[in-house]
Symmetry: C2
Subunit: 380 residues, 2 copies
């Protein structure tokens, strides 16, 4: 780089700004991760590197000031319906930790075919053989958890995983039935709740799972990267095994994981998150209403119906047709929505789109519906 180009780049770094900050947010990755005012305050209070560690005595999750210990060892297990909880860098890192602790390279695991890509990548990092339970295909893509049974019988898996809901269609599967199956066949069972923990009521114990995974930045009103992992007590000695050389340090956590701001935002937002899951039925009816309105405009909702989650996936042939004849191609939609104060559909994509109704209220969603109508009219 020339000196001049470098100066320009450095100047840009010192003044980073986010274009979408104050728009109506429909981005599935973001609607459950928006900070509370308490979290914003905590972010500045503990922004400096390692400032959560002032009173560390060797174990991050045992720090009493700020009250990480009480949060991780009392409040969080109760919330997750588990016996033991810990902090991680995210849902994917939680899943990797469990795989790496329980399953040996070459062994098989069984997962739903609507799993997040990181489940596959985590398994690849450990060297595992992944077997996928098929889904019902277009248009609902449902998982029937009974289909785990023959695969378990034939493959002696070391772990089964269910993504609930899945992140692509927002389908909710019968996690509890899979809990019975896993117990019957004595296979450890992990629920990926990246889009449920913090949005809706979910309990590892009620499901009958061995592990539950949540995402702070996706669904617990936290900064990224941030995750939680809950488990039955019987797995503690395996997944949270201590170092032989440093008996205070947990090997899978490399001593400590989330030593900073994401943890502090998770904690600061938690009282709000704990309360908001009580209003899940309102979220579901809002999503269903929005979906039926969009269908009335000619979009087709994929995934299960009636829908039971705020993650929605629509086919949009009308938008795709427009993208074929405008200069901006698929980006016309991003541009049109942004001009109307709306953000969250993947820029450039029009054939089908995902969105989440979690953060917007009905008034804002009505604005979104009007925007869709007005865009369709403009290009008709």
């Amino acid at each position: 780089m020339t000196k001049q180009a470098e100066d320009k780049s450095l100047q840009k770094l010192a003044n980073l700004q986010r274009q979408h900050k104050d728009l109506i947010n429909l981005m599935p990755l973001q609607t459950g991760g928006m900070l509370t005012e308490a979290a914003k305050k905590a972010l500045i209070e503990f922004g400096d590197g390692y400032s959560v560690c002032d009173f560390c005595q060797g174990i991050l999750c045992n720090i009493s000031n700020p009250p990480i210990q009480e949060f991780v060892h009392k409040i969080l297990p109760e919330f997750l319906g588990c016996e033991i909880a810990t902090m991680t860098h995210g849902a994917r890192e939680s899943i990797f930790m469990v795989m790496h602790s329980l399953v040996s390279p070459g062994d098989s695991i069984i997962v739903d075919s609507t799993r997040h890509y990181t489940t596959v990548v985590a398994a690849e990092r450990v060297g595992l053989n992944i077997i996928e339970v098929p889904n019902s295909g277009y248009p609902e893509f449902r998982i029937d958890v009974n289909e785990y049974v023959p695969l378990i019988k034939n493959n002696a898996p070391k772990l089964v995983l269910l993504t609930n809901p899945d992140g692509n269609y927002g389908n909710i599967s019968d996690a509890r039935r899979l809990g019975e199956i896993a117990q019957e066949y004595e296979v450890p069972y992990i629920v990926n709740g990246a889009y449920s923990v913090g949005r809706m009521p979910i309990s590892m114990a009620e499901i009958g799972a061995d592990f539950i995974v949540g995402s702070g930045h996706k669904s617990m009103a936290s900064s990224g990267p941030c995750g939680v992992l809950g488990m039955k007590k019987k797995w503690e000695e395996i997944v949270l095994r201590r170092s032989k050389t440093y008996p205070k340090k947990e090997v899978e956590l490399l001593g400590c994981t989330l030593r900073g701001t994401p943890l502090i935002t998770l904690m600061a937002s938690f009282p709000y998150v704990k309360e908001r899951i009580n209003h899940w039925d309102e979220q579901v009816s809002k999503a269903q209403w929005f979906s039926s309105e969009l269908e009335g405009l000619g979009f087709k909702q994929l995934g299960e119906k009636p829908h039971r989650h705020d993650l929605l996936h629509f086919e949009a042939p009308l938008f795709y047709d427009i993208s074929q004849r405008v200069r901006e191609k698929g980006y016309f939609l991003y541009k049109e929505l942004k001009e109307r104060g709306i953000w969250g559909l993947q820029p450039g994509v029009t054939k089908a789109f995902k969105l989440s109704t979690f953060a917007a209220d009905r008034y804002q969603l009505a604005i979104v519906l009007d925007a869709f109508k007005s865009i369709l009219r403009k290009y008709s």
Copy 2:
């Protein structure tokens, strides 16, 4: 928990405060991680979960808005003196990634005996055999890198590691000589620069290493958790290998690593960090001055002399004697310093203490020296 106890706990979470925020900070873990004003602004701007990912096209480090791509692929490699760089959750996670990619369970690696505990835990997580290069022992604890040679000859290690400086004594070893040795014996060489990258000039290429690791929260004015990893191009296909199923996704990063606020603070602070390393000689002379003043008061500096880093370790028999006869035991020192506006010595510890002169200026360090004198006087 009773309802009442729970309400109290939740209330505490919604109002998290840091006691040490505005004190003179001597905490070795923290003095290099204090945020710039630009980083504080960016923290709020991108505080919401996953808000750095607005324009992601599948690879975190290729996002152009905010300019992560330019930062990770141009600016950072130049800064680290490497060909390829990536973002991680921290120095320990960088080291684990390299070990996990290059070394098989049961293989040996050689590390300095002043390594951070996480080097041992990361090796344990991969299942490696660790061989340590001895140090010179009390009082300097120096590493002579020539002592790697016989150990390399006898053990055919798959990796050598040097912690430079070490985090306990702040000793700087001859990293460049070890580069020659590693090249001669064709062993991959990783430098743990958690306390150098972002504080002082350091270049992987000049050292002749294969990998360099840095810590955002420890030494690059960032929120935690946050790290960088630089490497020679020849290691890219191994350490940053792509998933067979998802060709955009790097396996060791589980797709993406630092998807949030710590990355954004690292970027926002970077122009300042890049500039501050030019003043390293002033940092060193400040540390030497402070050390000689403390020695004048009867404390004994451990580690190499003259010292070449802001991390300082002192034996403090005078404080220890006091701790034996006061009610607060070792905590008297924490309390006395805090009352004088000073923070950073491990609470409860008096026999020896570590501190860092990096963040405090000479005026503030004079206040610290006066405080030490006044405490000694008070209890004499």
